[in-house]
């Protein structure tokens, strides 16, 4: 027998979904409006000219877009290296205080961004580090590492530690063992963690605000655009790009780790 949810519950769920997704739909809608000064509803007319405008007439978009991609790429790379190393170390070792140390790795993502931002800003100040692209990258790396670390650690837990010994026993040195035995088994976790990290970094605002100098990343550029209106629908066009760049990797990461669990479970 199948139980049916009551009308009230269905209505509540529908309202919840609308509340979550209607604003997103409005972003799409207003990318096509003919009215450029204010967002009036319903839009007086629809046009695709803002896509052309964004592409051809607004060179100010390219700088922030390029910076965002650069920051996200380097922060992700750093996260892949250090997140994997940390996960490898903590999955193998057994020592007093291991759980606390593990918590310290995860903490940056649990802390409010504003705390991370202020802490990093004062730290850079004390170190006399001038704010630059690199300070943004360092700021983003703090939470990117966590994402990679978590993904890879979960995978390491499923890898039989005897496999590393078996590989060494069969004549492989440390590098060969990593290349032929460890890497193939953590590859999908790395890809998933990396994409998630990239997406997180790409749309980050708060930590960026505290760690950036004069440059703007794409999300910050958008914030500034909303404050002084000029060709407002262009901001929406850029928002669609941001959605595409962040949503697709997150979706891929989700499916990758899900599939990984199936094959990983069967391999044991």
């Amino acid at each position: 027998m199948r139980s049916e949810a009551g009308w009230g519950l269905k209505l509540g769920a529908a309202a919840g979904l609308m509340f979550l997704h209607l604003p997103l739909l409005l972003i799409f809608l207003y990318a096509f409006t003919t009215e450029e000064k204010s967002f009036q509803f319903p839009p007086p007319g629809l046009t695709t000219k803002w896509f052309a405008t964004a592409w051809f007439d607004r060179p100010d978009i390219w700088g922030p877009l390029y910076l965002s991609i650069k920051v996200a790429a380097i922060a992700t790379l750093l996260a892949l290296i250090f997140g994997t190393l940390a996960a490898a170390a903590l999955s193998r070792a057994k020592f007093y205080g291991k759980d606390s140390l593990s918590l310290l790795f995860i903490l940056p993502i649990a802390l409010p961004g504003i705390i991370t931002g202020i802490a990093l800003r004062s730290a850079f100040d004390i170190m006399n580090l001038p704010f630059s692209t690199w300070t943004i990258i360092l700021g983003h790396a703090t939470f990117c590492i966590v994402v990679v670390y978590n993904n890879v650690l979960a995978r390491f837990r499923r890898i039989n530690s005897n496999m590393v010994e078996a590989s060494m026993d069969l004549g492989a040195d440390g590098f060969q063992t990593f290349r032929f035995v460890v890497l193939p088994q953590i590859a999908s976790a790395l890809l998933a963690g990396g994409m998630l990290a990239f997406a997180l970094s790409f749309d980050e605002v708060i930590v960026t605000t505290f760690t950036a100098g004069q440059q703007s990343t794409l999300p910050i550029w958008m914030l500034q655009e909303l404050i002084r209106p000029r060709q407002r629908p262009v901001t929406n066009v850029v928002a669609i790009i941001v959605i595409a760049v962040t949503f697709i990797p997150i979706l891929c990461a989700y499916y990758l780790t899900r599939e990984g669990e199936h094959t990983g479970g069967g391999g044991r």
Binding site: N160, N162, M163, E165, A166, S167, M168, D169, L170, G171, A172, D173, Q176, F180, V181, P184, Q185, T263, G264, G266, G267, R268
Partner: protein, 336 residues
């Protein structure tokens, strides 16, 4: 002839525990050598010391006459069959077996041929395209064996390789392993906590307790002439008698061991013969075990157990009986 493996005063500490404590032993070439002991007795650590996964805290280990102390696992010509097999799940069975040869840089065609040959040897022909996840426990064990043997190691190390198999399969694998060892002539070093396995397969058995080898020798010697109470108890079951009991019944004034199957119970018309010792006791329990019956006798406070052929005698609990054993059946031990 140089020894296959030689331990000279090898000690391995983990913090304060002495996992291996001053072990000196030589393993001959082509020998099937079993290391037997309870868990935590140091036998597995000894195996890992030979493989190179552990390094001795002090002492030296040599393999075929060459000092292996400090050498990493990948520079030793020994291979290991792991307890849980440790197959690589992302590779096919063929790739698993060919892994060692691939690392050595053997050409693809050659290593695939060698892998096929090794799989034939363990009776897994045609399995090379499968994944480890698609195999049964017994088949995985054979793959692990093939993966080690394909490298033609000088010494093959086996860490409780039959532990995860069910009884029937285990008996079959025991036979096959022994056959394989005779056929290849490779030195096998085998770790187990199953005394039956060690006795039936090995040429020589070393009994481990608390990080030391307490006795080493051929299976029959270990069983027939245990040197200590620990060995007598651990290998088979045994009756250990105090020096007082032994002396009062005609034996030497020392701790002695008497195997249960060496005891017989006298019935009415039987007489004690000159080369026999005897004692009187009360039967406290009778356990029927199919082919044998185990009878527990209380001889004035000393508890003895005897195994008799199942149908030989009509005995009852509470009955007082005279039991006998041959003079040469008792084994004097060095210590209790």
């Amino acid at each position: 002839m140089t020894h296959a493996v030689s331990f000279q005063n090898v000690t391995r500490h983990f913090g304060k525990t002495r996992a291996v404590d001053d072990v000196t032993i030589d393993i001959a070439q082509g020998e099937f050598f079993a290391m037997l002991g309870p868990s935590g007795s140091g036998k597995t650590t000894c195996l890992r010391l030979i493989a190179g996964f552990e390094q001795p805290t002090s002492g030296t280990i040599s393999i075929f006459g060459e000092d292996a102390t400090g050498l990493p696992p990948y520079k030793r010509n020994v291979n290991t069959v792991f307890q849980d097999y440790a197959l690589f799940p992302h590779m096919t069975v063929g790739e698993n077996v060919a892994y060692g040869l691939m690392i050595k840089g053997v050409a693809r065609a050659d290593r695939e041929a060698s892998a096929k040959q090794a799989l034939d040897m363990v009776k897994l022909s045609g399995f090379d395209q499968r994944r480890p996840a698609q195999l049964s426990g017994g088949q995985r064990q054979r793959v692990a064996l093939a993966r080690a043997l394909v490298n033609e190691p000088k010494v093959l190390l086996l860490d409780e390789p039959l532990g995860a198999l069910d009884l029937k399969l285990r008996e079959q694998m025991q036979e096959e392993l022994k056959h394989l060892q005779r056929q290849l002539g490779i030195t096998f070093v085998f770790v187990t906590h199953d005394q039956g396995e060690a006795l039936s397969m090995a040429d020589r058995v070393a009994i481990f307790n608390e990080g030391k080898i307490v006795q080493a020798g051929p299976p029959s010697e270990i069983y027939e002439r245990p040197r200590s109470r620990f060995v007598a108890d651990f290998v088979g079951s045994s009756n250990v008698m105090s020096p007082e009991f032994s002396k009062s019944h005609g034996g030497p004034e020392a701790w002695v061991s008497l195997r249960p199957e060496k005891i017989n119970i006298l019935t009415g018309d039987q007489k004690v013969v000159s080369n026999q010792f005897n004692a009187e006791g009360r039967i406290t329990a009778i356990h029927y075990q199919g082919a044998m019956t185990r009878v527990v006798i209380d001889a004035k406070g000393t508890r003895l157990s005897a195994t008799l052929p199942a149908t030989s005698k009509a005995l009852a609990e509470g009955q007082t009986v005279r039991f006998i054993w041959a003079k040469d059946a008792i084994v004097e031990m060095e210590k209790a």
